[in-house]
């Protein structure tokens, strides 16, 4: 394994993108940073700009207004980057899959590496997903 990938695995910077979610997944993502779970132990932090990011966390059905934005943000991210679909909505559309505003699900728009289902997924589930992601990075 090259040093590049080794360093990447130790320092994943996360950009959190909400594609029209109900905010529940977003709250659970922030719960990963709190004293109980503290993912900064593994070097993960939230960053404000997609240029700095290694991981794109997408939540929510990607509604029609968001489709172009999601593609744009993915293009703006410095590669190598991984995309994580968080929650039932961005994985499959969830209960909104027949809705008039449905623009997603996420994997129709950009390549997705990991799906973490749940409504919302627990922080434990997200950490389990990230562990699988780390095993996949090679």
């Amino acid at each position: 394994m090259s040093l590049k990938i080794k360093a990447l695995k130790k320092s994943l910077w996360v950009y959190h993108m909400s594609g029209g979610s109900c905010n529940n997944c977003d709250i659970e993502i922030l719960a990963c940073l709190d004293p109980r779970f503290d993912i900064e132990r593994f070097g993960m932090t939230l960053v404000g700009s997609p240029r700095h990011a290694d991981v794109l966390l997408c939540t929510g059905i990607i509604n029609k207004k968001c489709v172009e934005r999601v593609k744009e943000v993915y293009a703006q991210t410095a590669k190598p980057c991984v995309v994580v679909a968080i929650g039932a909505c961005s994985c499959s559309g969830g209960i909104f899959r027949d809705g008039y505003q449905m623009g997603g699900p996420l994997d129709k728009l950009i390549p997705v590496d990991i799906y973490i289902p749940g409504c919302p997924p627990k922080p434990e589930a997200m950490i389990a997903g990230i562990v699988k992601l780390l095993e996949k990075l090679k």
Partner: protein, 309 residues
């Protein structure tokens, strides 16, 4: 000393200050985490961050002015490391180098200027808001910082040479042992907080509202160089205050080095405590703070120093 020696010396001090600066940044992150009842990152975290950023793609936005965009981080790192090289020369004094306070005042300003250059050449609206704040903040903290530099200079017989200030402190006790010294020390700590961009004065980065501010368009190794410059500043700034107010670091004995590191850590932990107990100020509040109270105290401190208190 010829040019090759100077270059080698500079590269060595750049490497040494980079490693120390990243460790200092780790202390910052770890203490912050412990204050929030978290565990915090492992000791090699900042090295991993830098290695990762070095391996990532570097994007240059279409609207950017390429030359300034690429060179601004290089300028920031070079200037920050140059401050460190000057301070090391002063501590060793083997080269008979006087080391001027005003030189360091200039050099410490250059990283902020580089951030302004880099942000303004990236062609992003949020970056331009960030650099406008950085510029106002620069104008704000330079005035009290200059006051904080004048106080030890006046106390040690109106000299701007760092070596002379150190000699005076060895003979007559450290600057912090007097009323004007305490005032000056507090002003210097608050001004450096703005210079390094730690939380009450991190308006230029402002993750929450400006998404990284001046650094928003930076990615890959260029972002890594800016982070490196911040890390070096985090060690050079407090070392400068240690020189002016705590009697510097004595490299001739082991106890001297340990005492020096403890002095440095004291200031660093003070930074982290202020950072973790205060929310971010608005730019007008920050300017009022610097140009109002801090400058007023600075002038009082200078008057006391002239009186010899």
């Amino acid at each position: 000393m010829n040019a090759v020696h100077v270059l080698l010396y500079f590269i060595m001090s750049l490497a040494a200050f980079s490693v120390c600066g990243m460790m200092a940044m780790w202390v910052d992150r770890k203490v912050t985490a412990r204050l929030q009842f978290r565990v915090g990152p492992p000791w090699y975290q900042n090295f991993a961050d830098f290695a990762k950023l070095a391996g990532k793609e570097t994007l240059i936005p279409g609207k950017a002015s390429i030359f300034m965009f690429v060179f601004a981080p290089v300028i920031a790192v070079t200037a920050a490391a140059m401050c460190g090289a000057v301070l090391l020369l002063v501590f060793r004094t083997g080269f008979g180098f006087p080391g001027d306070v005003i030189l360091l005042l200039y050099l410490l300003t250059v990283p902020s200027l580089a951030i302004i250059l880099g942000g303004s050449s990236s062609g992003n609206v949020l970056a331009s808001v960030g650099i406008s704040r950085e510029m106002k903040l620069l104008l704000g903290y330079e005035l009290p910082f200059a006051c904080a530099l004048i106080i030890p200079a006046v106390r040690s017989g109106a000299t701007t040479s760092l070596v002379e200030i150190l000699r005076f402190q060895q003979a007559n006790g450290i600057t912090l042992g007097s009323i004007s010294g305490v005032i000056g020390f507090l002003i210097a700590v608050f001004a450096l907080q703005g210079k390094i961009g730690l939380v009450p004065f991190d308006l230029a980065e402002a993750e929450g509202e400006l998404a990284g501010g001046a650094f928003i368009e930076y990615s890959g190794i260029l972002l890594g160089l800016f982070k490196l410059a911040k890390a070096i500043l985090l060690i050079v700034g407090p070392l400068f205050v240690v020189t002016l107010y705590f009697g510097g670091i004595n490299f001739s004995s082991v106890t001297g080095v340990i005492a020096g590191i403890l002095k440095y850590l004291l200031i660093l932990v003070l930074f982290v405590l202020v950072k973790n107990t205060n929310p971010r100020l608005r730019i007008d509040q920050a300017l009022k703070f610097y140009w109002g109270w801090m400058t007023l105290f600075g002038i009082i401190g200078i008057l006391l120093a002239v009186k010899g208190l």
